[in-house]
């Protein structure tokens, strides 16, 4: 420090010790590092870009063409594919059913899973019941769909149980009728997904520190006060994650509807995901199908965006 001339500014100091050279060396190192890192990242980047991101771009492009069957890929259609969507009777029903799906796949698994988690925590043999309820989760959705397809069959389990209650034979075609098919498949979805919600809520509950609970008890808080003012806020992050997962899976479920809806005449209207498959892979309306896929994408995108906003808010709340 002794040889530092008087009144040397920082800038002059940096000039004197040659910061340009230092920066150049560092930049070179960064550039070299980038290629090193890129070598490690390249398989992932190439595969993700080639098989996931590129298709998204192409799908959006297709949705603006007149592509149907074997022609029209080079004709620009503007927004006409999107304009055709509302008013198409299949689309309207599919959209309506999807909305029901999403609402139901959030409300029911969450309410039931949450209720069971809280309830089973204090029950003897709670672990046995938890494992039983979690069981469907380890079956493939296709297998679950096959089982429930036969449970709902005219001579299936459900009708035979109902006959037991009613005292006379029941033969409702649960999966053949307009007004029962969606609730029936939703019930199966709920049956399968409650276990996971329950486990996640239990994990969230067990992560809650004991101290605030003790403090509340010592201060004379009632059970419901403790629940609403301490447990619920601490559980919020888990609940947000679970809700978003349910919305997304409700939106994109294909296997259940495809396998269970096979006997239903209006299968294509069961959800947007199925409608999209029908329009493109069975009818050959590729451009139209692409437009439906884009709509699904937009909705999923907005849900994910809401999740980020909510998660940030929750993070701020709990911090």
């Amino acid at each position: 420090m002794t040889d530092r001339p008087d009144r040397e500014t920082d800038l002059q100091l940096m000039e004197r010790i040659g910061w340009h050279q230092i920066k150049a060396v560092e930049d070179r190192a960064m550039k070299r590092n980038f290629w090193k890192a890129f070598a490690f990242m390249s398989p992932a980047i190439v595969l993700v870009c080639g098989l996931l991101l590129m298709p998204v771009v192409y799908n959006i492009y297709f949705s603006f063409t007149k592509w149907k069957k074997f022609a029209g890929l080079d004709e620009f259609a503007g927004f006409s594919n999107y304009a055709k969507l509302p008013g198409n009777p299949y689309f309207d029903t599919a959209f309506y059913n999807t909305a029901i799906w999403v609402a139901a796949s959030v409300v029911f698994p969450l309410a039931i899973g949450f209720g069971l988690a809280v309830f089973l925590r204090g029950v003897a043999f709670g672990n046995v019941f938890k494992n039983i309820i979690f069981l469907p989760r380890i079956l493939a959705p296709t297998a679950v769909a096959v089982i429930w397809f036969h449970v709902y069959a005219p001579h299936g389990v459900l009708n035979s149980l109902l006959a037991l209650v009613a005292g006379q034979p029941v033969d409702i075609g649960w999966l053949y009728q307009d007004n029962t098919v969606t609730p029936a498949i939703i019930a199966t979805f709920v049956w399968q997904s409650v276990g996971l919600v329950m486990v996640l809520v239990l994990l969230g509950l067990s992560a809650i520190p004991k101290d605030p609970l003790e403090a509340a008890r010592v201060d004379g808080a009632t059970n419901s006060q403790t629940f609403w003012h301490i447990v619920m806020p601490l559980l919020m992050p888990t609940l947000v994650v679970v809700t978003i997962l349910s919305v997304l899976s409700g939106f994109t479920t294909f296997d259940l509807l495809w396998v269970m809806g096979v006997a239903y005449p209006g299968q294509r209207t069961l959800s947007l995901a199925v409608f999209m498959y029908f329009e493109s892979f069975q009818k050959g309306s590729w451009a139209f199908g692409s437009a439906i896929a884009v709509i699904i994408g937009i909705v999923v995108f907005s849900v994910t965006w809401i999740q980020t906003v909510m998660q940030n808010r929750v993070d701020k709340m709990t911090r």
């Binding site: 890192a37 990242m41 595969l47 991101l53 493939a140 939106f251 296997d255 999923v300």
Partner: protein, 293 residues
């Protein structure tokens, strides 16, 4: 401690504990009743696979089977009708190789993203992670046509390629978070001793990532094993189709197979994933904890 043990009323505590368990007996009954909803379909599947077709149609679906012997016929017939041998081999290959490669590539990418400093790391991470934010429906049409054009539709290679790609982004997120929390002292020391980047990755980082890699591998393997959508679109020929797709045989309008056969096939197809789950429950739970999937 100010409080001597003699001052604690153990008897009262014990009585309170006993009272709280006793009070819970009615709720055990409620819990048992509720879990019937989950037990009955499984029970139904288990009794049905022991019935012949005639037996199934003649009796109540919930009745006990007359004997255990029809299961052998059901299994053989289901196996042959759906050509499940090929389906098993294909799905096992897609699952093991696809998920294995995906997790390995993800570990490499996570290493590059966390252990080598370069500009715009976040951009490259987001680029890879973007693969998880789109619904699967948006990939279908372009992939189907690209695959046709290149000529890899209905090939093992094509299926494997897609499964590997789609299973990469998520493990990248998990492993990147994990590596960020892992101490850098070991790899710095190795670099000082003149180890190459690949050597550091291979002998220091990989052995330390076995836990999260196993957890993500299991999740991705199960996803591939259970997938029906992409197998239907990209590999619908008999030689390449996956196990879940081969179950579809029983479901078309041309099928004459009884529910006893269909349910047997569904159970056989699910067995590997179930066994894997039961054997490696801890890893699955760990995976669920980090991911919520």
């Amino acid at each position: 401690m100010a409080l001597a043990t003699s001052q604690i009323d153990f008897a009262a505590i014990e009585a309170r504990e006993r009272a709280s368990t006793k009070k819970k007996w009615p709720s055990v009954v409620v819990a048992a009743f509720v879990s019937l909803i989950w037990v009955v379909p499984f029970y139904y599947m288990l009794v049905s696979i022991f019935k012949t077709h005639a037996e199934y149609t003649a009796n109540n679906p919930l009745s006990l089977p007359e004997g255990f012997s029809p299961i052998a016929d059901n299994a053989i017939s289901a196996w042959n009708t759906a050509k499940m041998g090929a389906g098993f081999a294909n799905s096992a290959m897609y699952g093991i190789v696809g998920a294995g490669l995906a997790v390995f590539f993800a570990a490499m990418a996570a290493y590059g993203l966390t252990r080598i400093s370069f500009k715009r790391q976040n951009f490259w991470f987001m680029l890879i992670f973007a693969g998880t934010i789109f619904p699967f429906q948006i990939y279908l049409i372009p992939l189907f046509f690209a695959y046709q054009k290149i000529g890899i539709i209905n090939t093992h290679f094509g299926m494997l390629l897609f499964y590997t790609a789609v299973c990469i982004p998520f493990p990248v997120l998990v492993l990147r978070n994990y590596l960020n929390g892992l101490s850098r002292e070991m790899d710095e020391a190795a670099r000082m001793d003149g180890a190459s980047e690949f050597r550091v990755f291979w002998s220091i980082i990989l052995p330390n990532c076995i836990g999260p890699m196993t957890a993500t591998f299991l999740l991705q393997f199960t996803w591939i094993w259970n997938d029906l959508l992409f197998s239907t679109v990209l590999g619908n020929r008999e030689e390449v189709r996956s196990i879940m797709n081969s179950l579809q045989i029983f479901h078309g309008s041309y099928t004459t197979a009884g529910p006893n056969l269909t349910l047997t096939a569904a159970l056989i197809a699910s067995l590997p994933a179930i066994v894997l789950f039961l054997l490696l429950r801890r890893h699955f739970m760990e995976g669920m904890r980090v991911t919520g999937v």
